[in-house]
Symmetry: C2
Subunit: 451 residues, 2 copies
């Protein structure tokens, strides 16, 4: 037979079973955290009509998109979960209760240049709250709480949610008479961390046509820092000059005011006037999340408030707020940086039943009873030497091996071996599930991320 | 702004939130049942190199496949989960412990003719056990137990797992000297249910070139029925004439012998000699699952034993056994036939916190405390009338509304309303989570399927 070399496309993540278990754990933490905040799961097709996906048209996206024809249909693979959400809400408007809160964890496709750590197929994990006509600022205030709980549930301790408000920025630039240039200025200012203040000042003059005095004013403004209370106090100095600014400041103050009631400690939150988020799309609060010890990773969870989700599809005004986690890239980075907790033992089964006799009835009955009791159980049925069987148990990292030999059958018992401690006890078969479940608490309950 | 009509492609399932919650429940039951048997989750790319996916080549599959180029890559969307598994095992052979037991629930793509109840994008939920060189018959004996538990966990009561063994069929046709014609005969015999014995006899003569005597012999053979013991007894009459037949009979006897230890009642299992499964691929035990009251739906879970998973990619012999559930079609049929249990209340949240004051601190703190306690909680923050708020709670089907007004704030309490019974109690805020959790057991615990 002529053979084809098996391979997986470059830019497509495919994990070994041990890593897949960790990835699943990560996705499960996100699912359950999102559900805890009352978001409903949504699943939309991977393929959409190209005209629907590209309604907004334009630029980088269109170059990267996977687009093809089937029959006479012009099709494309989704490149994010926001455009399909906009389509879904416009299409199902009459059947949804607003605010509509949905989460979606799904694969998206972008034909980026192949590069280590860059993926062409990757999971996004998104939540959005969509209002019908209006949406209260409290929805923006709640988001840091969701980000905080998500990363804490994953085990991450040292991270900061950086928050700004686009109205504050837009209002500030309006005060300077720089509204026309605000977009270009924000893109330049966004580089502050990377290139430093001097170079930003030069670029503001050269590329944005900002006067030296205004450039200084801008740099002074975005360098406002300190505690949340200090930032708010310094922003109050600008109040009364521009209504959009004042509205943004009120919103930021509201977000900060409810932080503690939402369970977010001040240590994990920073009002940060340098955050703008690239997209023109955002109109209010914007969020970024950085891992304190790995700033080079960039933001691991970003999003913000927008005023018009689905203008390309409907005349309904649908403001919303949402965040997105690039799950595939996050997992890659965690693994790559050694941040996955090696103490966390994950196995495809809690127990491996190993029969030592030709008749497997007793072993099968025990496996059935264990499953009945909720113990994830594998029955080892291959006719291999005992050593090969135990080595299989080791390779799977199963916490318990349950050995059923002639002695056990004769006495109606089971020998339960804790694979980590090596301790083995022989107990009545009916007690095996209890022994295993009592021992399981030591396994698999650790944090996914260390540090 | 020019607007694009939002639409979802024909043949692509996209559900309203209430149905999506049911679909998620179904997928979750499958995930947890598969995990109970020690299968490890796997996730492979949706896109593969066309040459990899089409290594086997041929026929219907190739016509239906979504295939396109991106840059100079010839790509295709997976049309099942078996070919990607074969690629995965061949590619990662050295890193896997065998038997390798994996489950995968994922979307696959087939450009079928658009038709009601036919999907071009649909979920398959597969399990497979792959051996390295050999795989014990006990793995085949375990499969009915997995099917049984899966459908019972979904709530289905009246269904039958029909089992046959390809070696019995192949051996039988060898006895008659009809090995060359066995494929054609099996395809004809497969129509017995639909067209009846007389037409099958005619087709056997006209299309397969089988003599009248042999046709009678074949019809007599496949009409063997009765209890499992009776079927085995009648098959024993053929023993000793053909070694492949004898091996198949031994395997079937083993599968039946362990049924009860695996927890499968005889009522839900039938040895059925008419089952062949279309694919030439299967070499041993084959499975179909039919819903007793809806035979017209066809098999809802099928699979079998194969001897060569990945011959197109590797010279390693990798025998396996697997089953597949077409989840999207199953859900469509259940919904369409009214088999989804309307008594099962599923909601995106357990509780909706409704603040009645301008300052939301107390409501936010309570929502945070409820989430801390594991209660899925939504905070209603819109400035709407009370009636609109309660109507929102109704539309979401949330079991509990928690009202926080001035009285509650003053007394540190919360008013918890059971939305189903209408009963409302005012309790200390710290007790609200307990009241809700106690009441939740009545919700969402029902069966997904009725009957």
């Amino acid at each position: 037979m002529e053979r084809i070399r098996p391979h997986t496309l470059s830019g497509f993540m495919e994990l070994t079973p041990d890593k897949q278990l960790r990835f699943e754990r990560m996705a499960e933490v996100l699912r359950s955290t999102y559900a805890l905040y009352g978001f409903t799961p949504l699943d939309t097709p991977v393929i959409e009509a190209a005209e629907v996906l590209l309604a907004k048209g334009g630029g980088e996206t269109e170059k990267q998109i996977y687009r093809f024809t089937k029959g006479d249909s012009d099709l494309a693979l989704r490149f994010d979960l926001t455009v399909p959400l906009a389509k879904y809400v416009a299409l199902n408007y009459g059947q949804l209760a607003f605010p509509f809160r949905r989460f979606q964890i799904g694969k998206v496709y972008r034909g980026e240049r192949a590069q280590r750590g860059r993926f062409r197929e990757f999971y996004q994990a998104d939540i959005d709250v969509i209002g019908d006509g209006s949406l209260d600022i409290m929805n923006e205030a709640e988001i840091p709480s969701i980000i905080y709980r998500t990363f804490r549930s994953l085990g991450l301790e040292r991270f900061v949610i950086r928050v700004n408000n686009r109205k504050i920025l837009n209002g500030f630039y309006a005060m300077l008479g720089l509204t026309d240039k605000a977009g270009a200025i924000m893109r330049t200012v966004d580089k502050l961390d990377k290139i430093g203040a001097a170079k930003v000042r030069a670029l503001l003059a050269d590329e944005c046509g900002v006067s030296p005095a205004d450039a200084d004013e801008i740099l002074r403004f975005i360098s406002i820092g300190g505690s949340n209370a200090e930032v708010l106090a310094r922003l109050e100095d600008y109040r009364g000059r521009e209504s959009v600014f004042d509205a943004g400041l009120d919103e930021l103050a509201t977000v900060i005011r409810y932080l503690s009631a939402f369970g977010v400690p001040e240590t994990h939150f920073a009002a940060d006037l340098t955050i703008a988020r690239g997209l023109d799309y955002y109109t209010g609060t914007v969020y970024e999340t950085v891992v304190t010890d790995h700033p080079e990773v960039g933001s691991v969870c970003s999003g913000g408030r927008y005023d018009d989700l689905a203008g390309y599809y409907t005349d309904k005004k649908l403001p919303g707020v949402g965040i997105s986690i690039g799950l595939t890239r996050l997992f890659f980075v965690l693994d790559d940086q050694g941040l996955l907790n090696p103490e966390l033992t994950l196995a495809p089964a809690d127990a491996l039943v190993i029969p030592m006799t030709d008749d497997l009835s007793a072993a099968v009955s025990l496996a059935t009873a264990l499953r009945e009791a909720g113990v994830r159980t594998q029955l080892y049925a291959e006719k291999k030497k005992f050593k090969a069987r135990m080595s299989y148990a080791d390779r799977l990292s199963v916490p318990f091996a349950v050995i059923i030999g002639e002695d056990e059958i004769a006495s109606g018992s089971a020998s339960v071996k804790n694979m980590r401690t090596g301790e083995q006890v022989t107990v009545p078969a009916g007690d095996a599930a209890g022994v295993i479940k009592a021992g399981l608490s030591a396994f698999g309950s650790g944090r996914l991320i260390r540090g």
